[in-house]
Symmetry: C2
Subunit: 635 residues, 2 copies
């Protein structure tokens, strides 16, 4: 086994050989002794056998009298057994059976006359007695090794006299963040500072897998510092993660340092993202080099560290859940790697639909938003739109069934609706994707979404949405539901330093515009306004610079990377920008008939009509409400 | 709302009205502020909006040069843009874009000649630049309220500048065990001592639901002591559980005391087990009276406290999982209650089969062994054997598919096989039920089990199993696999005080025999031996006293509630009894053909042939091994 610098090993092979190498060096879960009462969720290290019987004494199973059964033999309706006080003892349920007695007669069958007890039926030996060991016998195996301890297992163990037991110790995973530019998380980073949140993500994942973690201070990109940090972590921890510095570019010392301290089995796995991973070890201790981009890091931790944690506990863990889903967009992938593509999932018309998310390795929010992962195998070019593919589910299947899918035009009010829906009924969720109004209409048409936010202007008559819906839904099957009126305008920097007054000012020399993507209602509106004013869009600097939401346009202006952009008032309000109102437009929700009777849509309509919705929009600003929730058109 | 002493309210009504009363009094999850990095698995108290953009500065998406795009306009293959050092700045991926620059040209497109840079294509504004807010925009909702925080959500929050946040505080649940006879768990309880393990079971359940718990010392059955304990717990905790003393029998003060401190909404729910539950409250604090029997207590906690915890967090929680299963035995239930019956489940021939477990409310091991719960509604008499019923799953569906079902004759070696199977492959499990050899054969025949341990003596020729299998499987479909030879004999107390030498001694006056259940191979053997020796079984005291396993027979003798019983050497060995060997019998495994190719059976056969199996049996004692794992008969 020699170090392979930037190898391109398939994931399965890398994983198997890494585990094999570790096990050959003695890698295994270590034991610790803990109190049984604190053992919830822990994994047994050995099979556990009962120390005592449960019950540990013969106990009465009834309220009644305990006696010697043979004294009642022959009793009948005509010749009862007659007992005096010395022949029986009164017992309650759970009381121990007195010495010498071997039966209990329930109180209902005990007839008292003149200080004597009359029994009209014989008692059979051991009737109404809970035998010793009825529940658990001493010496019996209560629970096998490598088994997760449930609450009722704790009960059975304590009943069996086991007050402490050996469990698998939680592995301690040391996480070392490295890099010259990375800084601790803060609300005031300086330009160029890269916020170090990977260690918190990895810690969270490991805690969910029952591991303990220790995050070390950030180490600068110096080989001797990194070496020292790994050494220290190897002394204190069971497993070590070195984060960043695992690509083969400049400032890459990780692989070299790990090789000096132990050995590097592989450097480079044929997965995307995650390729530059380093699989290293020192004797039985894994040292994992994890790439710096959060999405790459998450995939490497999930695919290469999780199996190591599973091997440590050996309890079978939780199986991954898979489902079939229909792709909304093609996925194009290279032949050289196994690629992991995060998708949003929705259950629409009884089938799962998967929409690929931004594949940038730096985009951590895409992992948060992902409901599933699609794997594109090596030597495959990808999948076509409409193809049925297998998806690993990151959320429970039933949560997906309870999720209202909103694909269409962006407005911050959609997020507020998501919050109100889940607050009103915690079983329900709203998941949104911003593709613009036209994209939303097409998604409804293709059965990929339940609802779509839309504000499409008909240039001919100044109305919104009607014409487009009539055109694209000739067979009907949809309802157009009133939502809000909202003020569109030009967002400019605070104080309006460039003195912009109208759309015609946007072609000025030196002005930096930022646009919305093609197909968005705002882009269509802007193009209409330019045409009306006779402005050549080629003369607008930044016309081709596209952002996908009102907020991202506003933030470019707030951060002085642009001077102006079209958008709604509420977005400019969040960033404290100046705003030149242009028009009030209609923002409706298009709802598929097949989703109309779902609990999610029913709750949504209630919310649209609620006072809280009104109050939240007042806070956002720039909205007018007429009759939200009203059906304007049913085709 | 008045106290109803021993009401019989349906569960749903009790639950709804209890939650309603609590909410009207202001019951809700409380907030606390914690660090984002520690927030894994916690529930957001509010919607969280990003404090900063991610990225928070425009960053280069490539290694290359940053420049002003307009300086390259018009560049072509024939007329390149020629830049001097002051026109560009070298940048690496992730570096901030220098002030004034608005594009990056990747290093591959940069041609250097004589200290100048030649570009043969124009750069468009903002090319190869990660825009501010590309991942997360300031002011954008990152996560709605009442949402579980995942590892990637932690990453998104930190990227969005949120270093601390409000989450729902874990509710603190105070648990007060009461009762005169109950004692702390120990390995040496005295007769009559009831081991107090309920508080540990309830704590375990609550911890799995993310609540914190505080267990108070055991309180004697005195109203003033109980009142004092509840008061103290109400001061310190959010929710209070009073355990035991909630039936209407003698020593029942719970309901009275709760009514004095607050109010009792219901005392008595129409569920079985669990009927005597008390639903009490003091203002917004729930006080739950939970019955003392562990199984009753678990049902009450699950059905009545879990919804309260869910209401506290309001995150939607985890849905219960249900499946259809075929009943192996009838379930008879009273009309008056909704009954909860625990079942073992197995996946045999592609269908789930459910075998009801011991319904005793004191039998805590049945909850540990349960794979599912069947609900028999009020006003229903139960279900028939063979009926398809709905079962709530207590284990993941895939674990059930990976479980080898063993129903048949008991031998401690079955537990050892279970341990070895799971240790060899942690994804596999073995689940066993002891119904005797004949019961096992019938279970194989009805498709309810994969394998059955069997040792059925053919009185005609002294062989084992062959004749029975040929008789009961005329159509074949099974294999008989050799397991072990084992020594059967009479287990007697240490030192053999009654000088028992043979079966004929067991009818002696004053001797207490303990028998095995009808249909068990040992019972059949014993009856055969009695017949051979001409003993009238009616003359054996205790002949009708039936135990279901070798261990439970042995433990009766070890605890001096019986003098003798038939059983195998290994059981007598565990309890250090004297043993009079009678014969060596054949204990085989009958395996259904439909299970033969399953990973569980394949692993089982490997184990039967292993050295470890041999070593484990040597430790147990009384076994002889010839060719375990060999197919003796394939019909």
């Amino acid at each position: 086994m020699k170090a392979n610098y930037l190898t391109n090993v398939p994931l399965e092979k890398a994983k198997d050989n890494y585990l094999k190498a570790l096990k050959e060096n003695g890698f295994a879960g270590q034991k610790e002794t803990i109190k049984t009462k604190d053992a919830i969720g822990r994994i047994t290290a050995n099979a556990i056998y009962a120390a005592i019987n449960a019950p540990h004494y013969p106990a009465s199973a009834m309220d009644g009298i305990a006696l010697v059964a043979s004294k009642t033999f022959g009793a009948s309706e005509t010749t009862p057994a007659i007992l005096s006080k010395k022949d029986y003892i009164v017992v309650d349920t759970g009381d121990p059976i007195p010495d010498g007695c071997d039966a209990v007669v329930m109180i209902e069958d005990v007839i008292e006359k003149n200080g004597k007890v009359y029994l009209y039926k014989p008692a059979s030996p051991w009737q109404h007695i809970r035998q010793i060991g009825e529940d658990i016998c001493q010496g019996e195996m209560i629970v096998p090794s490598h088994t997760r301890i449930s609450a009722s297992t704790i009960g059975a163990l304590l009943a069996g006299g086991i007050v402490s037991l050996d469990v698998i110790k939680k592995p301690l995973v040391g996480i070392i963040p490295t890099g010259d530019e990375i800084v601790k998380p803060s609300a005031n980073p300086k330009p160029g500072d890269i916020i170090e949140f990977n260690s918190s993500i990895f810690s969270g994942m490991l805690k969910e897998w029952n591991a303990d973690t220790k995050v070390y201070p950030i180490v600068k990109d110096k080989p001797d510092k990194i070496k020292e940090a790994i050494k220290k972590a190897l002394d204190a921890c069971d497993i070590v993660i070195l984060n960043a510095g695992s690509s083969a570019g400049r400032d890459d010392y990780s692989s070299k340092v790990i090789a000096e301290l132990g050995e590097v089995l592989y450097h480079g796995i044929s997965i995307k993202p995650g390729k530059p991973a380093i699989l290293g070890l020192k004797e039985s201790q894994p040292i994992l080099g994890v790439p710096g981009y959060p999405v790459s890091g998450i995939i490497v931790i999930e695919e290469l560290l999780k199996p190591i944690i599973d091997e440590w506990f050996r309890d079978g863990g939780k199986e991954k859940e898979f489902a079939k889903a229909v792709l909304t967009k093609p996925i194009v992938s290279g032949l050289k790697y196994e690629e992991f593509v995060r998708v949003k999932l929705g259950e629409v018309d009884g089938k799962l639909v998967a929409s690929p998310l931004n594949r940038g390795a730096g985009v951590v929010s895409s992992f948060m938003k992902a409901d599933g992962i699609v794997r594109v195998p090596e030597k495959t070019e990808g999948f076509n739109a409409g193809e049925e593919i297998e998806v690993e589910l990151l959320k429970p299947r039933e949560a997906l069934s309870n999720t209202l899918v909103a694909i269409g035009s962006h407005d911050p009010l959609i997020d507020e609706l998501a919050d109100m829906l889940h607050s009103a009924n915690p079983k329900l969720y709203l998941s949104s994707t911003h593709v613009g109004s036209m994209g939303g209409l097409m998604a409804v048409k293709r059965g990929e979404t339940h609802i779509a936010g839309t504000h499409l202007l008909d240039e001919n008559n100044g109305t919104y949405n009607y014409a487009f819906i009539e055109k694209y839904f000739p067979k009907g099957g949809v309802r157009l539901v009133e939502c809000v009126g909202r003020t569109q305008g030009i967002m400019v920097q605070k104080g309006n330093p460039l003195k912009i007054k109208a759309v015609s000012d946007l072609a000025k020399e030196g002005l930096r515009y930022v646009n919305r993507q093609k197909g968005s209602g705002t882009r269509i509106l802007f193009d209409y306004l330019c045409k009306k004013d006779g402005i050549d869009t080629a003369s607008i600097y930044g016309y081709d610079r596209e952002e996908f939401t009102h907020s991202s346009v506003a933030t470019q202006i707030a951060n002085d990377t642009a001077d102006a952009g079209m958008g709604i008032y509420s977005a400019s309000h969040i960033y404290d920008l100046d705003f030149i109102p242009i028009c009030t437009e209609v923002y409706d929700l298009l709802i598929s008939d097949s989703a109309w009777d779902s609990p999610m849509v029913k709750e949504l309509l209630k919310i649209l009509k609620s006072n809280e919705f009104k109050e939240r929009l007042e806070k956002l600003g720039g909205y007018t409400l007429n009759k939200p929730g009203q059906v304007k058109l049913h085709l």
